[in-house]
């Protein structure tokens, strides 16, 4: 089985790269950006084992990615127990923002190596349990693309800004579990939890709960979800620095915060259509997600999907 996908996304923001008066809408910086990405995959398997491989690319004005990944899935005990191993390698490069140069500099390498091992077990006729572990090793230019820090004794910049500096290596670990319980053939609930830790001294806990309704007669599916995330700040984080240090960041994504996300997804399958006299099936899905963080960020995601089965 061969699969391929292509993505084009574009966005615009008033001040998406606003740093002091030199960038963003006020400074006449980049106001609209686009990203192009594609992926080609191949999958093969038999009754007990499935393996797949994929090749992906992604390009935007300050970030390029060439990535490969694979997956091996094996079943045991008459498919009661399933083991999956998935390695990935990202050969990325990113432009670092340079205050002195007044803009993004040339591309610098960022390599990411990831391995995920997971297992799922059928506990009863109504329960599925999954456990997994993810290991990620990062190497290269790991600074945020366009972040600066405020250094109070900065002698040259009138806004007291210096470029963010982060270590060139990062090792990350995550343990996760998910439990799905079916109350009936059409109603189920899912609970998931993830513990995360890395060598930048960030620890995080993420929990998600969801209720699922799937009508087999009418082929619709609905799923409200509630996700909670809590993380500590990296040891390199400060809102402002009294003096310049070797590693400094004020990126809000690396700060201490809690976040909540409420989502609702609805899907309808098996909508018969007859384009040009041929009977096909249409699949529609819509979703809305509201996210809020305690350190000020809020955003909404709206998704619409259309699929056609020939």
């Amino acid at each position: 089985q061969i699969n391929a996908n292509f993505t084009y996304d574009s966005w615009t923001a008033a001040s998406d790269t606003a740093i002091d008066g030199e960038t963003g809408a006020s400074g006449g910086g980049i106001e609209q950006q686009a990203r192009v990405s594609g992926q080609l995959g191949y999958q093969k398997g038999d009754e007990l084992n499935n393996w797949s491989t994929r090749l992906g690319i992604s390009q935007e004005y300050d970030y390029n990615s060439l990535n490969i990944g694979g997956s091996w899935v094996s079943s045991y005990a008459q498919d009661n127990f399933t083991l999956a191993i998935s390695p990935q390698i990202f050969m990325d490069e990113a432009k670092e923002f340079d205050l002195v140069a007044g803009g993004a500099t040339k591309f610098k390498k960022r390599s990411i190596y990831a391995l995920d091992v997971s297992a799922s077990q059928l506990l009863t006729a109504s329960d599925i349990l999954q456990f997994g572990y993810t290991f990620v090793m990062m190497d290269g230019m790991l600074n945020s693309i366009a972040s600066t820090v405020q250094v109070l004794d900065e002698p040259t910049d009138p806004f007291q800004r210096q470029t963010e500096e982060l270590p060139s290596k990062r090792t990350r670990h995550a343990l996760y579990t998910k439990w799905v319980h079916g109350f009936s053939d059409e109603v189920a609930t899912h609970l998931s939890y993830r513990f995360y830790q890395d060598d930048w001294q960030i620890q995080a806990h993420t929990a998600e709960a969801g209720l699922r309704w799937a009508s087999s007669e009418s082929d619709w599916f609905m799923m409200p979800t509630l996700r909670f995330h809590q993380q500590s700040a990296t040891k390199y984080f400060e809102k402002e620095f009294a003096t310049s240090e070797k590693y400094m960041t004020s990126a809000s994504d690396l700060a201490q915060f809690n976040s909540t996300r409420f989502g609702l997804h609805f899907g309808q399958d098996a909508i018969s259509i007859k384009p040009f006299g041929h009977t096909s099936e249409l699949e529609l899905s819509v979703g809305a997600y509201m996210y809020q963080r305690t350190n000020g960020l809020t955003y909404s995601i709206y998704q619409v999907g259309v699929g056609v089965v020939f």
């Binding site: 006729a125 366009a146 079916g182 087999s216 994504d253 899905s285």
Partner: protein, 68 residues
Amino acid sequence: MRLFWCLSLLFLSFSCANVKQIDRGRLASKAMALDPIPEESVFLNEVNSYREAAVGGTAAVGGGCGCN
């Protein structure tokens, strides 16, 4: 290492559970899937991996974010 052996023992004990093929009708429904919306989840997990400091449990660990 201790955590690894504990998890291994846990998996071994679970593998003793045996749900027969004839009893798996409910498990095959969309509501029971570990990820019932895989295409939509890809984007949601990418956003989480870049707007939060944690990753894991998904394929979203690299490849840019389109968020600058």
